[in-house]
Amino acid sequence: MAYYILKRLLAMIPTLLGVAVLIFLLLRVVPGDVVEARYMGEGGQFQSQELMQIERKKLGLDKPLWTQFVTWMWGIVRLDFGLSMWTGAPISEEIKLRFALSLQLALMASTIATLLAIPLGILAALKQDTWVDYAVRIFSISGLAMPSFWLGILLILGMLIIFKWLPPMVFTPLWVNPWDNLAQLIWPALAVGYRYCAVGTRMMRSTMLEVLREDYIRTARAKGLWMKLILTRHALKNAILPVLTVISLEFAFLLGGLVVTEQVFNLNGLGMLFVEGIARRDYTLTQALVLLVATAFLVVNFAVDIAYAWLDPRIRYR
């Protein structure tokens, strides 16, 4: 097991290196750079080329690509993300608060999704092919179909029209004022959570159906065990693993992938930071951001695999 963990951890390094190379190159293929982005906005056509060259030199953009890459990588190894090319502030500072926001939103959305998905999925599986099953399936397929940003707009609109109330539009960290914080974040969490609950519900339903047909469930019933006991002790334990996997993997993507929802709710999360970063050609910031999101994804992936081996003794890794 220890060997397996080590092997998996080491396998992350080439993937992350690949992510780093890919985003490094992608960003440099995008036309324009940070200096142009800055001066073009201020009637930059008249800005002298020399001045722009000086700016580029300050940022190290005049060096060859591989030097830039090695410098960046050397920083990453020492956990130094460098300075944002646009603001000049340390990237760790720029990302900190936004990461807190995105993390909290992702956690809330996943909690909502899990709490809804598991009972709904079980219910649908137990009542397979009845109206309950159809209702749950339509509920979950609708969740997949509705864009969460549209759901967000409808939520805001509904509150505005019915309660004449708008959620706070300025972010307050949880530790400053928990009430304001939750009053703002619960709505995007609901909009996003609904969508992910749909993914989980479908998974829960199908694994539950599969497990319920297993021999050991029949044996348990033949023994005359209560259905309730069979469900909680025998079926759920086996059926829930894939559901938790799906939800945790989605969680990793929620961290950086909520660009549109953040836009609707005016949240300055990691997703919006990425869009800003690209628009400003802020290479260092965008690179760090993508690497962070990719790392989060790989770590969650890894944690899920380890948890699997731990929870399911039938799985043994070499």
Binding site: P14, T15, L16, G18, V19, L22, I23, L26, L27, V29, V30, P31, Q128, Y134, R137, I141, S142, L144, A145, M146, P147, F149, W150, I153, L154, I156, L157, L160, I161, S206, L209, F253, L255, G256, G257, V259, V260, Q263, V264, G271, F274, V275, I278, A279, V290, V293, A294, F297, L298
Partner: protein, 298 residues
């Protein structure tokens, strides 16, 4: 993933000689939800194809005398901030959505399955290398990858199609590869190799047709997702650009600003997106159930 004779029966209708009408009726009887999805898709295709005839107004025509008109006899679903007819823009929007959805899933599924089959066929180092590259793409959230491609290529329908196809390639490749791995061990592939056929012929003529079921399933699943992704990109202003009629674009800007006084602007295009994706998902689910007996619920 294999296609059983039973599954083929189900797709082809009651018997080998039954006509297509019987096949359709049979599918509708066995899978009412799938038939519902197919109906929605059909409706969308008809709307998109006959947009020029059906749409009551020109989707691009501005009418500053009728800005933000509420739904009524003149404009059934109201007008937007430029006085453009919302219903007409929605009808033309189905054209954009279908074009992007079909284009992106076609490109994504084709490239992805070619990579997947080739990776499984060659195996060994090639396979390992391809899989590592796919891992890299997997570590990006879908929308981030699409946004990165759009910022390189620029906005517009064609570029949006490519941007949406990009994240689909690795996902398709992975699924198709796992199916192709079992196909590679089949005697007929050995036979083809023994007959001295080239790699290309074996991959395209012998292996690809036998992994068509998962490709078809993925392709339909991608369609709905592509429509959703297109609307997200357009909503951010990084997808299809004005004045083209696109659902995501209709939800942007004024639709949010005037949401309280003119809610129809935000409501109807979102409904169209949801309905379209709903239709494709329902149909895709039924197709999966029909083609993949392992996932069947009965």
């Amino acid at each position: 993933m294999t296609v059983t004779p039973h599954a083929i029966d189900e797709l082809a209708g009651a018997g080998p000689r039954a006509g297509w009408l019987a096949a359709v009726l049979n599918f509708a009887r066995r899978r009412p939800l799938g038939a519902l999805g197919a109906t929605v898709i059909l409706l969308m295709v008809v709307l998109a194809a006959s947009a020029d005839v059906i749409a009551p107004y020109d989707p691009l025509a501005t009418d500053y005398g009728a800005m933000l008109t509420a739904p009524g006899p003149g404009h059934w679903l109201g007008t937007d901030a430029f006085g453009r007819d919302v219903l007409s823009r929605m009808i033309y929007g189905s054209r954009t959505a279908l074009m992007v959805g079909l284009g992106a899933s076609l490109i994504g599924a084709t490239l992805g399955s070619l990579i997947g089959v080739a990776s499984a066929y060659f195996g060994g180092r090639v396979d390992l290398f391809v899989q590592r590259i796919m891992d890299v793409f997997f570590a990006f959230p879908v929308i981030i990858l699409a946004l990165a491609v759009v910022s390189i290529l620029g906005t517009g329908v064609g570029n949006v199609i490519l941007a949406i196809a990009t994240p689909m390639v690795p996902r398709c490749a992975r699924v198709v590869r796992s199916s192709a791995l079992s196909v590679r061990e089949m005697p007929y592939v050995d036979a083809a190799r023994a007959s001295g056929f080239g790699h290309r012929r074996i991959i395209l003529r012998h292996m690809l047709p036998n992994v068509m079921a998962p490709i078809l399933i993925l392709g339909t699943a991608f369609l709905g997702e592509a429509i959703l992704l297109e609307s997200s990109l357009s909503f951010l202003g990084l997808g299809v650009t004005e004045p083209t009629a696109a659902w995501g674009l209709m939800l942007r800007g004024a639709a949010v600003e005037f949401a309280e006084s003119a809610p129809w602007m935000a409501f109807f295009p979102g409904l169209a997106i949801s309905l379209a994706v709903f239709g494709f998902n329902l149909f895709g689910d039924s197709l999966r159930d029909a083609l993949d007996p392992r996932l069947r619920t009965q």
